[in-house]
Structures are given as structure tokens and as C-alpha cells.
């Protein structure tokens, strides 16, 4: 195959990847988009196999990885998607590092002259350190998301902070840069020491950057690592002079960056404050003051009565709902209400869940039709005319304090559940949310609290709706 033919095949694959992302603009075109992506990847792999001198190892490795990937994709629970995605980011990062090492050990295999030219070294350095930080950072993110904090303290979902943390990170980053420079200017044969040291330090830095970030900020972290894994692929594309890797990497990199931005915006936090960490996990900090105020609480039967007599109900699901695995029960409840002529809709806050769009997937899994599910901007205006807002396992995202100046969450966009005629809230207890602040919504005269496990409560409501 001529170099031009290869380049044209790679161009076709790049276009197919762009179409894959484009398809996600609507649920109806999304599957076709995914097929484009698969098609593009098939072309890329086949063309590469065709130009590789020895393919037996590669095909064997593809088969092994493919089988593992198949099994994982079939078995993973939808609640575990954040862990899966974090784990996959780490694999891309590690692969980038391994490829960079292979290039350093044998540049001629990639058509790169020996000794390595300076430009290639800079690219290899960038690809390797971004790849390594993606690898170790994603492992920490995976541990935090999978709740392995009890087994291993670094995986704690509470921020791990120590004095001088940011200074330490800065010093380590500078040492890494210095080693990178040494690698770039090293004499032939002397590349390995600075290269391996730099790789090791990037590994440590990846860990240190993620441990201070609390559980509430995980949607940002996972998007950020998504972005990194793309940049790592791009970096390798530069070293190998491969436009396909550069294009695919930049698509992924910008996608992750946009998602990080959207998540930060939805939490009203600046990207830097998330990175610096220390936020979240301080649960119950001000929960003590809650006891003085009185709340009205009711039973599932009361809720069923109110819901049955309402004309329009907006359900606000939060992560607590997913933790309790109550999605199916909620769908059943909605189904029953709809059959009684009640207009039931779902309102989704961008950070409802552990990763962007997580709650939508969880509801889709419970077979909630997506045309009943609305994004915050589309439904916020309708709370005022709704009879009931039913908040299930959500807290900070419906906290009206966000509209009051001086509150710690001032400016955070919220679902305006407090504007509904009646507000029903299911929570396990009066404990505060991730932001650690009290929620005045719970003390309104029109609010009724239903305490208990979301699944149990909703199942009881389903039974009580006649």
C-alpha cells in the first residue's frame, strides 16, 4: 500500500470518527453514529495491520483484549459506568506510555531516524507524561468511584489533603519538566535515564493531582481525564507523524474539555478550584443547625394520595436514587400515575449522577421514555405551574440558597423545585448534601418529607396508588 493510499484511508477513518460524535446530537441518530465509529476503527486497524511487517503478535493481542473488552462491556452495570470509563482512560494512558517507550527503544521501526531528532523527543516527552498522568490519575479516580476507600486510603472519596500539597505538586512538576529537558538534549544512548525518571515522576504526579479532589467533583475529574487521554493519543500521533491519531486525539481532548467546562458551570465552581481540591466530603458540617427547625414529614400513603390527585408532577432524581437502585420502582410509579391521567416528567440537573449524563442513562435503563426526561433549562420554567415536585435523593441541586447572595453555593444553577405548588422530598435522613450546607427547601410549609430508603419508599407508594 502506498503512503498516499494509507493517508487517504486514515482520512476516511477520521471523518467517520467525527460523524460518530455528530450522531450523538439526538438519541435517534446516535446508534448510526456509533456504527460510523466502529467502521472507522475497523478501517484504521485493518490498514495498519496491512502495513505492519509482523502481525501475529498484534492479532493475538487484539483477540485477548477484544475478549476482555467484550466481557466487560456486556457485564458492567449502568451504575458502574463512571468506574468503567475511568478504568478505560487509564488503559489509553498506559498504552501511550508503552508506545512512546517502544519508539525510544527502536525509532527506525516507526520510520523515525536514529538518533531521535529533537522535535520527536519533545513530542515523546509530552505524550509520555500526559499518558502517564492519565494512567495513574484514572486509577485513583477508578478507586474513588468504585468506593475502594476503605481498602486503600488513597482511594478515599473524601479529599486527601496534607500541608504544602500544592507546593509539593509544583516542585514535582518542575522536576519532571527538568527531566524532560534532559531527555530532549540527552546524547544518543543517554536518553533512557531521564526518560524513565520523568515517567516515574509523572506517575506520582497523576496520583497527587487526583487524591485531593472530593467525591462531589468526580464528574469534573472524569471529564478531565477523558480530555487527557485524548491529548495523550494526539501526542503519540505527533511522534509517529500519524494524522489519524492527531485528529482522533484532538476530538476526544476537546470533548473532555467541554464536558469539564459544562460540569464546572453546573456546580458553579471554577476549574482551578476543582483541581486544587479539598471540596466535598465534608458532610454534616452544618447539619447540627437543622434540628431547631421543624419539618413536616409524611408516609408513603400520604404521598400516593397527593400524587394521585395531582395534574402534573415533576420528578427530580438525584444520585441517591441510583444508589438505592430505585429507578425501576420510580418508573413503575410514573407509569401508574400516567395511566391515571397525571402528566409526569423528569427534571435532570447536569450533575445528577457521578458523570455527565449519568442519570439519563440510568433512567433509560429503567425504560423511562426519553421524551419524558427534560434537561434543566427546558423544564425550569414549568415548576411554577406544576402541582408537585417530587425530589428523590437529590439535595444541593434543588437548594434555593443558590439564589441568595452570600451563600456558599450562590450562583449555582438549580432546579427550581421550590416553585411547585407542593414539594415532596425523599431522603434517608436530614444530613446535608455534598456541599455540606443546609437546605431551606425542606422547611417550607408546602414541603413534605418522606424519610427512608428511596427504593422502599417508592415501592410503598406504588402499592398505595390504587
Amino acid at each position: 500500500m502506498s503512503a498516499n493510499a494509507i493517508a487517504l484511508w486514515y482520512l476516511l477513518a477520521s471523518v467517520l470518527f467525527i460523524l460518530a460524535l455528530k450522531g450523538l446530537s439526538h438519541p435517534l441518530t446516535a446508534r448510526r453514529g456509533n456504527r460510523f465509529g466502529i467502521f472507522g476503527m475497523t478501517i484504521a486497524v485493518l490498514v495498519t495491520l496491512a502495513i505492519t511487517r509482523r502481525v501475529d503478535f498484534a492479532i493475538g493481542a487484539l483477540a485477548i483484549g477484544g475478549i476482555i473488552g467484550y466481557l466487560v462491556a456486556k457485564r458492567v452495570e449502568m451504575t458502574q459506568m463512571p468506574e468503567l470509563v475511568a478504568g478505560m482512560h487509564s488503559l489509553v494512558g498506559l498504552a501511550a506510555v508503552l508506545i512512546a517507550m517502544a519508539v525510544v527503544s527502536n525509532p527506525s521501526a516507526f520510520g523515525i531516524p536514529e538518533p531521535l531528532p529533537t522535535g520527536n523527543r519533545v513530542e515523546l516527552f509530552l505524550g509520555t507524561f500526559v499518558g502517564m498522568m492519565t494512567f495513574s490519575g484514572s486509577i485513583i479516580a477508578f478507586g474513588k468511584l468504585a468506593g475502594l476507600g476503605k481498602q486503600f486510603r488513597l482511594f478515599s472519596s473524601a479529599p486527601v489533603v496534607f500541608p504544602g500539597q500544592q507546593l509539593t505538586n509544583l516542585v514535582i512538576a518542575l522536576v519532571m519538566l527538568a527531566l524532560g529537558v534532559m531527555f530532549v538534549i540527552a546524547r544518543p544512548g543517554g536518553e533512557w535515564v531521564p526518560f524513565l525518571l520523568m515517567t516515574g515522576i509523572a506517575f506520582v504526579l497523576g496520583i497527587l493531582i487526583i487524591i485531593p479532589i472530593g467525591g462531589a467533583d468526580m464528574p469534573v475529574v472524569i471529564s478531565m481525564l477523558n480530555s487527557y487521554s485524548g491529548w495523550a493519543a494526539s501526542g503519540i500521533g505527533f511522534s509517529l507523524n500519524n494524522p489519524l491519531l492527531i485528529v482522533a486525539g484532538s476530538l476526544v481532548g476537546s470533548s473532555g474539555a467541554i464536558l469539564s467546562y459544562i460540569m464546572c458551570k453546573a456546580m458553579n465552581r471554577s476549574f482551578f478550584s476543582v483541581i486544587l481540591g479539598g471540596f466535598g466530603g465534608a458532610e454534616g458540617a452544618t447539619a447540627g443547625s437543622a434540628e431547631q427547625k421543624s419539618v413536616r414529614s409524611g408516609s408513603p400513603d400520604d404521598v400516593a394520595f397527593l400524587l394521585g390527585n395531582a395534574e402534573s408532577v415533576i420528578i427530580v432524581p438525584g444520585y441517591g436514587l441510583a444508589v438505592a437502585r430505585a429507578q425501576h420502582a420510580v418508573k413503575e410509579m410514573a407509569q401508574k400515575l400516567i395511566s391515571k391521567g397525571v402528566n409526569v416528567r423528569y427534571a435532570i440537573h447536569p450533575v445528577a449522577g457521578r458523570m455527565p449524563g449519568h442519570m439519563n442513562v440510568l433512567l433509560a435503563e429503567a425504560e423511562v421514555p426519553y421524551d419524558q426526561v427534560f434537561e434543566m433549562e427546558d423544564i425550569n420554567g414549568d415548576f411554577g405551574t406544576a402541582d408537585i415536585a417530587f425530589v428523590l435523593g437529590a439535595n444541593d441541586v434543588v437548594n434555593p440558597l443558590a439564589e441568595e447572595k452570600g451563600s456558599p453555593i450562590y450562583g449555582m444553577p438549580i432546579l427550581e423545585a421550590h416553585k411547585a405548588r407542593t414539594v415532596l422530598v425523599n431522603k434517608r435522613s436530614m444530613a446535608s448534601g455534598y456541599a455540606g450546607i443546609d437546605n431551606p427547601l425542606f422547611y417550607l410549609d408546602k414541603t413534605m418529607m418522606v424519610f427512608g430508603d428511596a427504593k422502599k419508599v417508592v415501592e410503598d407508594i406504588v402499592k398505595a396508588i390504587e
Partner: protein, 113 residues
């Protein structure tokens, strides 16, 4: 080099910058409801790095580089297959349009009665 040949780094940079713009504009059109599938499919797409891994695995003579390359192929193939498959699985859930229509029908029945 001769004043007419552009250094490949510049060509790569051109591709890189333009691809970021394309990515930026395409990703903003993605509906927020599909942000999780977006992450899993971008994950699968970033596994195109498997191209580099395959090249690393088979330069001909067997050496340290080809071992590293082979390991990289196996690791990233998990993403290639797993990423697209799990995306397909999720999108399958969003596809189910039939229950929605049935619900709408049932709702109308309820109103009529």
C-alpha cells in the same frame, strides 16, 4: 529544508489545531442526555492509539519494543471493543421508542374515561 518543504511538525500542528475546532463545534451539538455515551464513545475513539501499538508490535525483528507494543495492543484493545460495545448497549436503551408511544396511548385512554 529547501525552503519549499514544510516540516512535518507544522503539518501535524495544522491538523491538530483544525481538529480541535471541529471537535469543539461537534461536541457542543451533543445533547446533554447523551453525555455518558459521548464519554464512552470518545474513549473508544481514543483507543485508535492501537494503530501506534500495532506498528510498535511488529517491526519485524523481535525486540523489547515489540514486546511493549504487543502489551499496548492488548490493553487498548479492551477499549476498542469494550468502548464501542458498551456505547451500543447504552444507546440501545435510548432507542426504545415503543413504550413511549404505548404510554401516550394509555394516557389518552385514561383521559377519555
Amino acid at each position: 529544508m529547501h525552503g519549499v518543504v514544510v516540516d512535518p511538525i507544522i503539518t501535524n500542528l495544522t491538523v491538530f489545531v483544525l481538529a480541535i475546532f471541529v471537535g469543539y463545534h461537534v461536541v457542543w451539538t451533543v445533547t446533554p442526555a447523551l453525555h455518558t455515551p459521548l464519554m464512552s464513545v470518545t474513549n473508544a475513539i481514543s483507543s485508535v492509539i492501537v494503530v501506534g501499538a500495532i506498528l510498535a508490535s511488529g517491526p519485524g525483528p523481535f525486540n523489547g519494543g515489540s514486546v511493549l507494543g504487543t502489551i499496548a495492543v492488548a490493553l487498548v484493545a479492551i477499549n476498542t471493543f469494550g468502548g464501542f460495545l458498551v456505547t451500543e448497549r447504552m444507546l440501545e436503551m435510548f432507542k426504545k421508542k415503543e413504550p413511549a408511544k404505548r404510554d401516550a396511548g394509555r394516557k389518552e385512554d385514561g383521559v377519555k374515561k
